[in-house]
C-alpha cells in the first residue's frame, strides 16, 4: 500500500539542558517518498533525524517508524534503516571494501562477500576497492557512505546533509541514485541546505528554532510561504537593490541576471517599497508567480543560524 506511512511520529521533543532543540515536531512520511528537511544551521534537523533512528532518546513524543515504536523498539528500527551522518563517519584507516564489509557484518547481511562486491561494482570502484577510505575525495566519500548505508537493503534512508561540500556534478549523480532507490520503494528523509536538493524532494518540511513551520508537497511550498513577487529592472540595479533592502516590505531582494526578483509576504508593504524607487531611471516592475526558488531563498534568509 503506497499510502502507508513509514514515519509517523508526533510531538517529538528534545532538550539539551534548558534549551529545547526540537519542539513538538510531527512528521508523516509516506512509503517511497523523498522527504526534504529544510532549515538553517542549528534548527534541529540533525537532532530530529537522530531521534527517528533511535540515536537520541526523545524527551517527549511518540509514534512509529517502520511500524515500530520510535522510543522502545529502536533496535528494530535501526535494523531496517540506513543512516548517513553529516560528517563522514566510516573508518578512514579501512579500505572501501573493509568498511562495507564491516557494516554488512553489523547488519548480518546474508551472502556478505557478494553483496559487498556488488556494492563496489555499483559504485564503479572495483579497481579501488582496496584504497583507504580516508584518501577518497569528498564526492567519493559520500558515495561510499551511501553504499554503506544501503548495504543491508533498508526500507528507510535517513540522510543528514548528504552532499554538504560536494560539487554540483557529484551531487546530481548522488540524487539520481536516491531517485532509483525511491523508485524501488525506499523511503528517504533528507536534510539539506541546498536549493537544488530541495527541488528533488516530493515534500518539504521547514524547521526553524526546533519548530516545524511549513510541511507541504514541494510544488505547494511557494503558496504555503505566501509570497507576492515582482521582477524589477532599473538602470542602476545595485542602487535599486540597496534601497529596496532598506525597506521592510521587500523581504527578499535577489538578483537574477539583469533583473531583480523582489518578494514579500505582505503585498501592500511590498508595493509601497516598490513605489519608493519608481522614479529611478529605467524602472519597471512586473508581477511574477513566486517560485520555489524565491520561497527557498526567503525561508533560508528569514531566520539566521539558530545557535542562540
Amino acid at each position: 500500500m503506497s499510502s502507508e506511512a513509514v514515519i509517523d511520529v508526533s510531538g517529538l521533543t528534545k532538550r539539551f539542558g534548558t534549551k529545547t532543540v526540537v519542539d513538538h515536531v510531527d512528521l508523516t512520511v509516506p512509503r517511497g517518498a523523498i522527504y526534504g528537511f529544510l532549515g538553517p544551521n542549528g534548527s534541529g534537523k540533525t537532532t530530529t533525524i537522530r531521534m527517528v533512528c533511535g540515536l537520541l532518546r526523545p524527551d517527549a513524543g511518540s509514534g512509529q517508524v517502520l511500524g515500530y515504536d520510535v522510543v522502545k523498539d529502536s533496535a528494530h528500527i535501526k535494523a531496517r534503516t540506513g543512516y548517513m551522518t553529516q560528517k563522514f563517519s566510516l573508518y578512514e584507516d579501512l579500505s572501501i571494501a573493509e568498511n562495507l564489509s564491516f557494516v554488512a557484518r553489523l547488519f548480518d547481511v546474508k551472502d556478505r562477500a557478494r553483496r559487498v562486491e556488488e556494492a563496489i561494482e555499483d559504485l564503479g570502484l572495483t579497481a579501488r576497492a582496496r584504497q583507504l577510505a580516508g584518501t577518497l575525495s569528498g564526492g567519493w566519500k559520500q558515495r561510499v557512505a551511501l553504499a554503506a548505508c544501503m548495504i543491508h537493503d533498508p526500507d528507510l534512508l535517513l540522510l543528514d546533509e548528504p552532499t554538504a561540500g560536494v560539487d554540483p556534478k557529484a551531487r546530481r549523480d548522488f540524487w539520481d541514485q536516491i531517485r532509483r532507490y525511491a523508485a524501488r520503494g525506499v523511503t528517504t528523509l533528507v536534510s539539506t541546505h541546498y536549493m537544488d536538493e530541495a527541488v528533488q524532494c516530493d515534500s518539504i518540511a521547514y524547521i526553524a528554532y526546533g519548530k516545524k513551520l511549513i510541511d507541504a508537497p514541494t510544488r505547494d511550498i511557494p503558496r504555503a510561504v505566501g509570497l507576492s513577487a515582482y521582477e524589477v529592472t532599473a538602470d542602476d540595479l545595485d542602487g535599486a537593490a540597496e534601497t529596496l533592502r532598506a525597506r521592510e516590505g521587500a523581504e527578499l531582494v535577489a538578483r537574477f541576471g539583469q533583473s531583480l526578483h523582489v518578494a514579500g509576504t505582505d503585498k501592500a508593504r511590498l508595493d509601497a517599497a516598490l513605489r519608493s524607487i519608481a522614479a529611478m531611471p529605467g524602472f519597471t516592475a512586473t508581477p511574477i508567480e513566486a517560485g520555489l526558488e524565491e520561497a527557498f531563498i526567503h525561508l533560508m534568509s528569514q531566520s539566521a543560524d539558530n545557535m542562540a
Binding site: 537522530r50 533512528c53 533511535g54 540515536l55 537520541l56 532518546r57 533496535a75 528494530h76 535501526k78 535494523a79 534503516t81 543512516y83 551522518t85 560528517k87 563522514f88 563517519s89 566510516l90 573508518y91 578512514e92 557494516v103 553489523l106 547488519f107 554503506a148
Partner: protein, 380 residues
C-alpha cells in the same frame, strides 16, 4: 614595507588566555593535574616505605623463658617485625611462610637459654620469604642489633664474662624461595604485571573514545549492535596480545635471568588470564567515562601509579599502612603479583592461589558490570 613584524605581547596574551580558558573547561585534566601530585605525595609520604617495617612475622618459640620474652619485646620495639603469631609447633611457621601469611619465621630452639648461659653459642634461626629480596633484607640486617639489645641485660653479673668477644649466640638467616637474593626473580614476574597493566588498560581505554572522536561511534550506534557485542568485539583481540606478552616476558625471564618455574603452569596461566581480562575491562570502563583520548590516557596513568606503588611491585606490601593495603587489594595487579610469585617461585598450585584468584574474579565482574552500565547506547 616588508620589515619584520615585531614581537607582540598581545599575541602571547591571546594564546595564554585561550590556554587558561581551555584548561578550565577541561575539568578532568584540571582535576588530574592537582590530584596527581596529591596522590603521589600521600603515597610516598605515608604508604611507601623504602625501609620496610612492620613485616608480618611468626615466632616459633620452643621454650618460653625470660630470654625468649626479651627477644619478642625487642623485636616488637624495633618496629621491623610485626609478630602475628607465637607458636610452639615446629613447622607451622614454614607453612604460613609458604602460604604468604607471613614474611619471616624466627625460631628460638629448645634449650636456647640453657646453652646460652653455658656459653655454647646456640643458634637463633630466621627464615625469610626472599621472593622480594629487598623486603627481606632490611629486617634480616636488623636482627643482630635487635638480639643484642634483647640479651644485653642478661650479660651483667654472673654472665658478664660472655659480654666480651663474639655474641654468645649465632644468628642463622635462611632466604627461602630465592636463596641467592636475586632481585631479578622478584622484578621479572612483577614487570610482567606492570607491562600487562600498562598496555592492556591503555589500549582499551581509547577503544570507545577514539570512535567518539572520529565520529565513527555514530555509525556503530546506528546499527543493531548491542553493548555486550561492542565490548566483546573490542576487547577480545587484546587477549591474544596479552598472551603474547606473557610468553615473551616469561621466556626472556627464564632465558636471560634463569628464573625457575617451580609451580603449576595451569594455575599461573589461569591467574594471568583472569588478570588480563580484568585489565581489559578496567581500560574499557575508562573508555566509557573519558570524553577524549587525552582524558583516557590521563586516567590510565592515574590507575598506573598506584599499580606500581601499592601493589607490592616496588615496595613490600606488608610494610604499608592498612588504608594503602586496602587500595592495593582493589588493584588487579596486586593479586596477579602474588599469584605469579607463588606459582613461579614457591611451587604453588591452584589451592595456594585461590585466595587471590577469587578477588581477581570479583574485580573482573565489578569492572565488567560497571562498563556495561556506563555504555551509552545513544548519543545523549
Amino acid at each position: 614595507m616588508s620589515g619584520r613584524i615585531p614581537f607582540s605581547l598581545s599575541r602571547v596574551a591571546a594564546v595564554f588566555v585561550k590556554e587558561l580558558v581551555q584548561m578550565r573547561r577541561d575539568r578532568l585534566t584540571f582535576a588530574i593535574l592537582f590530584a596527581m601530585p596529591l596522590v603521589q605525595l600521600l603515597l610516598f609520604g605515608y604508604a611507601i616505605n623504602t625501609d620496610p617495617r612492620h613485616m608480618p612475622t611468626v615466632v616459633e618459640a620452643r621454650e618460653d623463658g625470660p630470654m625468649t620474652r626479651a627477644l619478642l619485646a625487642s623485636m616488637h620495639a624495633s618496629t621491623y617485625f610485626e609478630i602475628v603469631k607465637v607458636t610452639t609447633r615446629a613447622g607451622e611457621g614454614e607453612e604460613m611462610l609458604r602460604a604468604g601469611e607471613t614474611n619471616f619465621v624466627v625460631t628460638v630452639p629448645e634449650g636456647f637459654e640453657r646453652r646460652f648461659v653455658r656459653g655454647e653459642r646456640p643458634q637463633l634461626l630466621i627464615a625469610a620469604d626472599a621472593t622480594d629480596p629487598i623486603a627481606a633484607g632490611g629486617a634480616i640486617g636488623a636482627l643482630p642489633q635487635i638480639a643484642a639489645t634483647a640479651f644485653a641485660p642478661f650479660l651483667e653479673g654472673t654472665l658478664s664474662g660472655l659480654a666480651a668477644g663474639p655474641p654468645p649466640y649465632e644468628i642463622v638467616a635462611q632466604r627461602l624461595y630465592n636463596p641467592a637474593g636475586e632481585t631479578a626473580f622478584n622484578i621479572v614476574p612483577g614487570l610482567l604485571g606492570v607491562i600487562l597493566t600498562m598496555t592492556m588498560v591503555m589500549i582499551t581505554s581509547i577503544a570507545l573514545t577514539r570512535e567518539m572522536e572520529r565520529g565513527t561511534m555514530e555509525t556503530m550506534l546506528a546499527t543493531p549492535l548491542k553493548p555486550t557485542e561492542v565490548m566483546l568485539g573490542k576487547t577480545t583481540p587484546y587477549i591474544f596480545i596479552g598472551a603474547g606478552q606473557t610468553a615473551l616476558v616469561l621466556g626472556m625471564g627464564a632465558w636471560l635471568f634463569g628464573i625457575p618455574f617451580t609451580g603449576s603452569l595451569a594455575a599461573m596461566l589461569t591467574g594471568t588470564g583472569v588478570f588480563v581480562l580484568a585489565c581489559l575491562m578496567l581500560g574499557y570502563l575508562i573508555s566509557t567515562v573519558a570524553k577524549t583520548q587525552m582524558q583516557a590516557m590521563q586516567m590510565t596513568f592515574f590507575v598506573f601509579l598506584p599499580s606500581i606503588l601499592l601493589s607490592g611491585f616496588m615496595f613490600p606490601f606488608a610494610a604499608m599502612p592498612r588504608w594503602a593495603q586496602g587500595i592495593g587489594e582493589a588493584l588487579p595487579i596486586t593479586h596477579f603479583l602474588r599469584i605469579v610469585r607463588e606459582t613461579m617461585l614457591k611451587g604453588a598450585g591452584f589451592e595456594a592461589i585461590a585466595g587471590d584468584l577469587w578477588p581477581l574474579g570479583i574485580i573482573l565482574a565489578v569492572l565488567t558490570g560497571l562498563a556495561l552500565l556506563r555504555f551509552r547506547r545513544t548519543l545523549d
